[in-house]
């Protein structure tokens, strides 16, 4: 049957199970937009900036496990997607971005709103395409979705010239893809599984490091089985949070720069690390030579390139976390590790990293704690990047899979509002809270219009400390309190909410925290809360960049100056 390129895109999306698209219109993608009314199954949510189309698709993908989809026009529309694509690539999020391009004859002529989009996005996508023949469109979109969701997921961009969207060709959606160079390895090698099981049986102080891969492959039950059967404590990385219930007796919290002290000490003492779907990021590892010096490492990851990239591995296991764990569990024996579990319990008591300082002030940690209590730990929490992100990771207790959404790898400030929007659209029955920094919030706040227009019921909690707080903390510790370019002038956030037509509330003292949270929860529809929090509160524990657990700062030290500024890396 004959279809225009634009119709082919819409029908292909429907075939791939897409029900919502986040996007922003423009000249080069107009034929596709003008076709949307023919396909009411495809709900389109118009954002106010393309970056937020990508972040919304990202939030949607992370909570649903489906592929998030965004549209943008050529040139500036497409370049605005770049931050969102890079965020998704770093965090392995399944996304398909469709961009309009200038007509084929104009390509390479510096036409109006022309950019080499496949060139620009090459290093920030898993793969990308420029479709020069409408006959290739259906197969390309099929491939794009296949690549986005299989193996190690990631963003795939399809750039479509305007006249390709308009041209009519025969359409048939292919049943399979032809990608001879792409074959994700899903099952672990039997010999390595045997070796891993043997190491687990021999280990005295094993630790599981569970990352995003557990959530992506939905390996929750398999992870729990392994932990319980072999009595192995579980640490979840920032992106692994909610992959293992934090109220479980074997849960040991988060590792790394702002991880729990006991988690980092446990890694240091461990004789076997079982890393599952995580990539030994520098924020987890610190100084490589001092990381887990006593431990052998079993590394399970679907991406072979992650194995041996940052740390030396004893047993490499390339495969899908769910399948590899299932196979491993069949070979792992029941074990008791009373002594090791007891040691960790002692560590937890000696290093109570979860404790919130006693104060009459509005401490940000307390605000997170109260949101947790009020929501019963059942909300989806979406964060930006910085201090509030770390407090949200530390002081909310996650028990529901895929309930923590954050930009871990790229560290994209401004992620929270659009990603929360996408998460709510993906999981409309879930309560969604965005924990926002006052800095990051102002990078994407134009989406308040999208939220109000589409009645997206998200609660936006701004942690307003009038600083780029995390950078200020570094300046306090590493640069002798020289606060260069971190003090923030903020607008009146409540009036801003009012201007956009949403409920705005403010908290300035501790007694108001819980009542205002409850009030916000009672509102049907979006609410912004301006939590005016203690402005110079720091995130602890802290392992300064490029150091080890031995250099960990557990609590505020008066007049602390750690090292000279030139010694502190990123």
């Amino acid at each position: 049957m004959k279809r225009t390129g634009a119709q082919i895109v819409c029908e292909s999306l429907i075939k791939e199970g897409v029900d919502v698209v986040f996007g922003l219109v423009g000249g080069a993608i107009l034929p596709l937009y003008q076709t949307l009314p023919e396909y009411p199954q495809l709900k389109h949510i118009m954002v106010r900036h393309e970056q937020c189309a990508a972040h919304a698709a990202d939030g949607y993908a992370r909570v649903t496990g489906k592929v998030g989809v965004c549209f943008a026009t050529s040139g500036p529309g497409a370049t605005n997607l770049v931050t969102g694509l890079a965020t998704a690539l770093m965090d392995s999020v399944a996304m398909v971005a469709i961009t309009g391009q200038v007509p084929r004859a104009a390509i390479g002529k510096d036409a109006f709103q022309e950019t080499d989009v496949t060139g620009v996005t090459l290093p920030v996508t898993k793969h990308n395409y420029l479709v020069m023949d409408p006959k290739d469109l259906a197969a390309t979109i099929k491939e794009a979705f296949h690549l986005a969701r299989t193996g190690r997921p990631g963003p795939v961009l399809v750039d479509i010239p305007k006249d390709v969207q308009q041209e009519e060709v025969d359409y048939r959606y292919p049943d399979s893809v032809d990608l001879p160079g792409y074959k994700p390895h899903l099952t672990g090698h039997p010999t390595q599984i045997k070796r891993a099981a043997k190491l687990i049986a021999e280990a005295e102080r094993p630790i599981i490091l569970a990352g995003h891969g557990v959530i992506i492959s939905k390996a929750y039950a398999e992870l729990k089985e392994l932990a319980e059967k072999a009595q192995i404590p579980v640490i979840t990385t920032l992106l692994g949070i909610s992959g293992f219930p934090e109220n479980h007796v074997l849960s040991v919290g988060m590792p790394g720069m702002h991880g729990m002290a006991y988690a980092n000490i446990a890694i240091d003492r461990s004789d076997l690390l079982i890393a599952i779907g995580m990539r030994f990021d520098d924020r987890v590892v610190g100084r490589v030579s001092d990381f887990a010096p006593r431990a052998k490492i079993i590394h399970i990851d679907i991406d072979p390139a992650e194995i041996g990239k940052n740390v030396k591995t004893t047993v490499p296991l390339v495969g899908d976390a769910k399948r590899v764990l299932a196979a491993l569990n069949r070979q792992v024996e029941h074990q008791e590790r009373g002594e090791w579990i007891k040691q960790i319990d002692v560590l937890k008591r000696e290093h109570p990293s979860h404790e919130i300082p006693i104060s009459d002030k509005v401490l940000p940690q307390y605000v997170v704690n109260q949101i947790w209590e009020a929501t019963g730990g059942n909300a989806i929490i979406v964060t930006g990047v910085g201090q509030h992100q770390m407090w949200a990771a530390q002081h909310y207790y996650y028990t529901k899979p895929a309930s923590f959404v954050t930009s871990g790898g790229l560290g994209t400030m401004g992620f929270e509002v659009p990603a929360a929007m996408g998460a709510k659209v993906g999981k409309p029955r879930d309560e969604v809270w965005a924990i926002c920094g006052d800095g990051g919030f102002q990078m994407t706040l134009q989406e308040l219009a999208t939220i109000v227009e589409n009645k997206i019921d998200v609660k936006l909690a701004i942690f307003n400390n009038s600083f780029h707080g995390m950078v200020r903390q570094w300046q306090e510790i590493f640069y002798k309190k020289s606060y260069v370019a971190t003090k923030l002038f903020n607008p009146d956030f409540v009036k801003l909410a009012d201007a956009y037509g949403m409920t705005g509330l403010r908290v300035t003292n501790k007694e108001e925290v819980r009542p205002i949270i409850d009030q916000a929860r009672a509102v049907k529809g979006p609410v912004l809360i301006d939590f005016v929090v203690e402005s110079e509160e720091n995130v602890y524990p802290m392992i300064p960049a490029g150091t080890s657990v031995n250099e960990m700062l557990e609590a505020p030290l008066p007049g602390l100056h750690l090292v000279d500024s030139k010694d502190s890396s990123t």
């Binding site: 090459l122 793969h127 690549l147 160079g181």
Partner: protein, 184 residues
């Protein structure tokens, strides 16, 4: 990377002939900080597939392993082989334009060319162009000898390599069947 342990490693890749595939590969090398000493590309024995030979200088086997893994991650790369530890035939072709203004210079150059089993492929009034094939050492040696006459221009292809004997290259049919067994 530094030190005396830098070795050159030969890696070959079978890649799909698609627009931008070379950019993807070059971009990966650049952004991950891998050094390409040479790169040669040409059609393979199979339609729509090209074969590339990379020479990577590195003092660490881990880096070479990362190069092969990162290459393999590129969707259009069908197969990657690290030939560093294989018994291989490796050749490079060079075109060298040398000054030859006198009859005696010309006859001396011809002697050198014969000695290296090279070929004179062009003769002009005051220069000759020489084609020489061999491993890098051989090409370096002839260049050293020719330098005395005055080298006008050198054009080198970079190394191409294949494993000696038994091993057959991956067939397209094999690649196709791999594609159809891929799971989600």
């Amino acid at each position: 990377m530094s030190g005396n342990n830098v070795h050159s490693h030969t890696i070959t890749a079978l890649v799909q002939d698609r627009p931008g595939v070379l950019t993807r590969i070059a971009s990966m090398f650049r952004r991950r900080g891998f050094n390409i000493a040479s790169l040669a590309v040409g059609k393979s024995e199979q339609a729509q597939l090209s074969r590339m030979t990379f020479v990577v200088d590195s003092d660490s086997d881990d880096i070479v392993e990362q190069v092969t893994k990162q290459l393999h991650k590129i969707i259009e790369v069908v197969k990657v082989s690290d030939l560093s530890k294989e018994d291989i035939v490796a050749r490079e072709l060079a075109l060298v334009k040398v000054r030859a203004q006198t009859a005696s210079a010309r006859s001396e150059i011809i002697q050198v060319v014969e000695l290296f089993r090279a070929k004179i492929v062009d003769v002009a009034a005051d220069s000759v162009a020489i084609e020489v094939t061999g491993d890098e050492d051989k090409i370096e040696s002839i260049l050293t000898l020719l330098r005395g006459f005055g080298i006008v221009e050198v054009m080198r292809t970079g190394r191409v390599a294949m494993v000696r004997g038994k091993k057959a290259p991956l067939k397209t049919g094999e690649a196709k069947s791999r594609a159809s067994t891929r799971g989600g």
